[in-house]
């Protein structure tokens, strides 16, 4: 187990390095000159532009720019944004907000997804199974920004139940509606995933055997059916935490949440390679670590899986 963990952690190094190079190259390849864009429609003073280029190493060839970024990054200096703020400050402001939002959405989708999925799967064909199926289908087919705007207008502006926007330093209640909006689509997927897994497992031979041995209905359901059905759900959830963090951009825009998604979008528009690469690398790390956790959880869920 320990060896396996070490190997997985060492594997992260090339993944992260590769990501930084790839993303840096992509930002570099973006058409347009970020320094000229700083002047907008106004005349560009070339003497000033040249100094700004030198300050951000934009006058150097791509590979030199990248190596300089990497060299500084190793000493935890991720450079400055074009506004003169340290990149690390920007990220440390935005990251906790998105993490909070993503974790809330994650808990929401995990809890409600599993519970409703289990109810629907165990009681297949009942009226509430049909209701759950229809609602989940609706959630999957409606895009997040529609759910977001509709929720914001009716529950926020009109009914005053939830805060309209989250604003700075959002608390639990401020993020509740955004988290539900963000997690709603994944929740619907989990409901359907759990339902189909459970309903197929419930008619398996080992379940019949367990019942034949005289195990109580509750024990069969929890120890055998639910536990075995959790493996695909956990896989999905593990992937999803990373996706929630990276994909929160639309929700962040609707509810005025100053998180990672918004920060990335803005810095792509401005061509700020340092910031984009730093954020994407961080998200890559989240993905990789989540994957590792999922793999560890498999062993807990299925005793046949062993790591060496």
């Amino acid at each position: 187990m320990g060896k396996y963990l070490l190997r997985r952690i060492l594997q992260m190094i090339p993944v992260v390095l590769g990501t930084t190079l790839l993303v840096y190259a992509l930002v570099f390849a973006l058409p347009g000159d970020p320094v000229k864009a700083m002047f907008g429609d106004k005349p560009v003073n070339e003497a000033v532009a040249a100094q700004i280029r030198a300050e951000y190493n934009l006058d150097k060839p791509f590979i030199v720019q990248y190596l300089l970024f990497l060299k500084n990054a190793l000493s935890l200096d991720f450079g400055n944004t074009f506004a003169g703020q340290p990149v690390i400050d920007e990220i440390s402001r935005a990251f906790p907000v998105t993490l909070k939002l993503a974790l809330m959405a994650f808990c929401f989708e995990a809890i409600f997804g599993c519970v409703f999925g289990a109810i629907a799967g165990l009681k297949k064909g009942k009226w509430y199974d049909t209701v759950i199926l229809i609602v989940s289908l609706l959630l999957i087919s409606v895009p997040t920004f529609v759910t977001g705007f509709v929720g914001q207008y009716f529950l926020g502006v009109k009914a005053h139940i939830f805060p309209v926007t989250a604003g700075s330093d959002p608390g639990f209640f401020d993020l509740l509606m955004p988290a539900m909006v963000l997690g709603s689509v994944s929740m619907a997927y989990i409901i359907r995933l759990a339902r189909s897994e459970i309903s197929s497992n419930i008619s398996q031979d080992y379940v019949r055997t367990a019942r034949a041995k005289g195990m109580s209905n509750t024990a069969v359901t929890f120890r055998h059916v639910l536990r075995n059905s959790m493996i695909p759900v956990v896989t999905y959830l593990g992937q999803d935490l990373g996706a929630l963090m990276g994909g929160a951009m639309i929700t962040e825009q609707i509810f005025n949440i100053h998180g990672i998604g918004y920060l990335t979008y803005q810095s792509i528009l401005k061509g700020e390679a340092n910031l984009v690469v730093s954020v994407v690398t961080l998200l890559t790390l989240v993905f990789v670590i989540c994957n590792l956790l999922v793999d560890m959880l498999y062993a807990a869920l299925d005793p046949r899986i062993r790591y060496a």
């Binding site: 005349p43 000033v48 808990c107 005053h160 309209v164 700075s168 639990f172 005025n256 100053h258």
Partner: protein, 542 residues
């Protein structure tokens, strides 16, 4: 094993609850304190006036600093810190006297040096200030452009301090609008403390304006409070302005509807249709100073401004565009049909200049002129219209192309470029061989700021914003005469003459003026917008 799994899930959930549970909402908006909350985006630069060239920082800077002159609601310049600005006979030298009693919020006095040192700092290329080209008309500017040989402290030789409250400005060419230009934010005075630590100053600027900065919490808010020492002409009706930073105008609009935000200076495109009838907000929508045009390079084959064929084609194209329809159907009425090259809020504006008929939709005349042009030289009319797709211009340009193609029977097409950055790059490299979107938001309310910056030969070939490289000796002559004029009326006469040539030759084709539009929450008093399409924050209260 089961226990472990449960523990893991429980652990993750607990972590989530812990992170989620801390802190609670503090977004209250009590009306008792008379603080105006306003929409803003995060400033893209530190808050140094000479380095601020976008609205996020500009809005804040304008409340923090008072210049020599300030603009009233009609866009006219009135002396603010200046007691008098006196030109010599040909407008090449100005003597500026300051009023007594002006102070920065750190207690130091505003002196002649507060201006001259600040202007030299911005002009000096070593200091890499984005507004440095605003000082190019002052003598000695050219000597401060070789960054490698400068220390950053060299002064403009055209600025001479006479005494504590008097200085003179020598210009390299006559410029009658200089007393208006100095109202632009980049010409703000700076206190001595600025030069000690410019970086710290950019985070917490010290000014002499109607408000002072209390705190700037990045990406969250910028808190300004009323400056009790302010000596200027603005009446301040509230105790402070707090700019809230939003991720999108849509979320801000929802907050205005709910009464959590007092004012915003823009209307998100999803609400342009409804905001004027929205019972939850107070709407403002009047013609503004921003003019939207498209430019066809002056020397493009078949479109040359100095040939009869080119002029006929440009006029035909202009008359083939149904501006009224575009403004009402595509813009939902948040624009005003253009009738000249400046804007209705600019002193001297006239909608009946000779040649303004060329900007009116006239299908039969358009066909006739196009046929005449084809008689001179046959042309297939495959013109492309380029624009940046990230600014919402797509439906407008599609409407233009439809209108043109239907009227003239040609095959013009749109060319959407993904980002503003890419688009501006192509424009400044002159790589677009067709029409391209141009728009102009003036820096100070004067026809000069539109006409000279956009159509004078001096501003062509990359030296300014004349992106079509238009050059006409008569336009240059009239603009030079206007610059040397001794009275405003005389100057306006010359501007009109220059504009009449432009209306004939159409180096750019005016489309519409973007309206100054915005919304305020119910209960906010005196909500109005100025010539810069900005709310007049000082006069608002609740």
């Amino acid at each position: 094993m089961k226990k472990k799994a449960l523990a893991a899930v429980a652990g993750i959930c607990a972590l989530g609850m812990m992170l989620g549970g801390c802190g609670s909402s503090g977004a209250s908006n009590s009306s008792g304190d008379n603080i105006i909350t306003a929409y803003n985006s995060e400033p893209q630069n530190s808050l140094i006036p000479g380095n601020t060239n976008e609205t996020g920082g500009g809005k804040v800077g304008q409340l923090l600093f008072s210049n020599l002159v300030a603009f009233n609601s009609k866009g006219e310049a009135e002396n603010e810190v200046a007691d008098s600005i006196t030109p010599n006979s040909d407008s090449t030298q100005y003597t500026i006297k300051l009023k007594d009693g002006w102070k920065f919020t750190d207690g130091t006095a505003v002196t002649a040096e507060s201006f001259t040192k600040a202007w030299s700092y911005v002009a000096n290329a070593k200091n890499a200030q984005k507004c440095s080209s605003f000082f190019s008309s002052i003598k000695g500017y050219d000597k401060l452009q070789d960054a490698n040989s400068l220390k950053g402290t060299e002064q403009l030789e055209g600025l001479k301090v006479k005494d504590d409250k008097t200085f003179t400005v020598d210009l390299s060419a006559p410029d009658s609008v200089f007393p208006i230009k100095v109202g632009y934010l980049a010409f703000a005075p700076l206190p001595e403390s600025f030069y000690k630590d410019t970086k710290a100053f950019g985070e917490k600027p010290v000014g002499n304006g109607p408000y002072k900065l209390d705190s700037w919490d990045h990406n969250k808010q910028i808190v300004l409070s009323k400056n009790a020492d302010y000596k200027g002409s603005q009446k301040i009706a509230n105790n402070g302005v707090t700019f809230k930073i939003y991720t999108s105008p849509d979320s801000a609009y929802a907050d205005v509807q709910a009464g959590n935000l007092d004012v915003m200076d823009t209307v998100p495109s999803s609400n342009t249709k409804t905001f004027q009838s929205d019972p939850d907000v107070e709407a403002y929508n009047k013609a503004g100073s921003l003019i939207q045009t498209f430019t066809i390079p002056a020397d493009l084959e078949h479109w040359k401004c100095d040939t009869e064929e080119g002029q006929l084609r440009r006029q035909a194209l202009s008359m083939a565009i149904n501006r009224e329809q575009i403004v009402s159907k595509v813009l939902n009425g948040i624009g005003t049909v253009a009738t000249d090259f400046t804007a209705p809020v600019i002193p001297g504006y006239s909608k009946d200049l000779k040649g303004s008929d060329n900007l009116k939709y006239n299908a039969s005349k358009a066909k006739e002129l196009w046929a005449k042009a084809n008689a001179i030289s046959q042309y297939d009319g495959k013109l492309t219209f380029s624009f940046n797709a990230d600014g919402g211009a797509q439906p407008i340009y599609e409407a233009i192309v439809n209108s043109v193609n239907n009227t003239l029977g040609i095959q013009a097409s749109v060319n959407a470029m993904p980002t503003f950055q890419e688009f501006r790059d192509a424009v400044s490299n002159r790589s677009i061989k067709g029409a391209f979107r141009t728009g102009w938001q003036p820096d100070y309310p004067s026809a000069e700021n539109y006409l000279y910056q956009l159509y004078d030969t001096d501003a062509a070939n990359g030296n300014g914003s004349n992106d079509g490289d238009y050059s006409n000796a008569d336009v240059d002559k009239y603009l030079a005469q206007a610059a040397a004029a001794t009275s405003d009326d005389k100057a306006i006469e010359y501007y009109h003459q220059a504009e009449e040539i432009l209306l004939q030759q159409l180096p750019a084709i005016p489309l519409y003026y973007s309206n100054a539009d915005g919304v305020a929450a119910k209960g906010v008093k005196n909500f109005a917008m100025d010539w810069q399409n900005q709310p007049i924050y000082e006069q608002m209260s609740k």
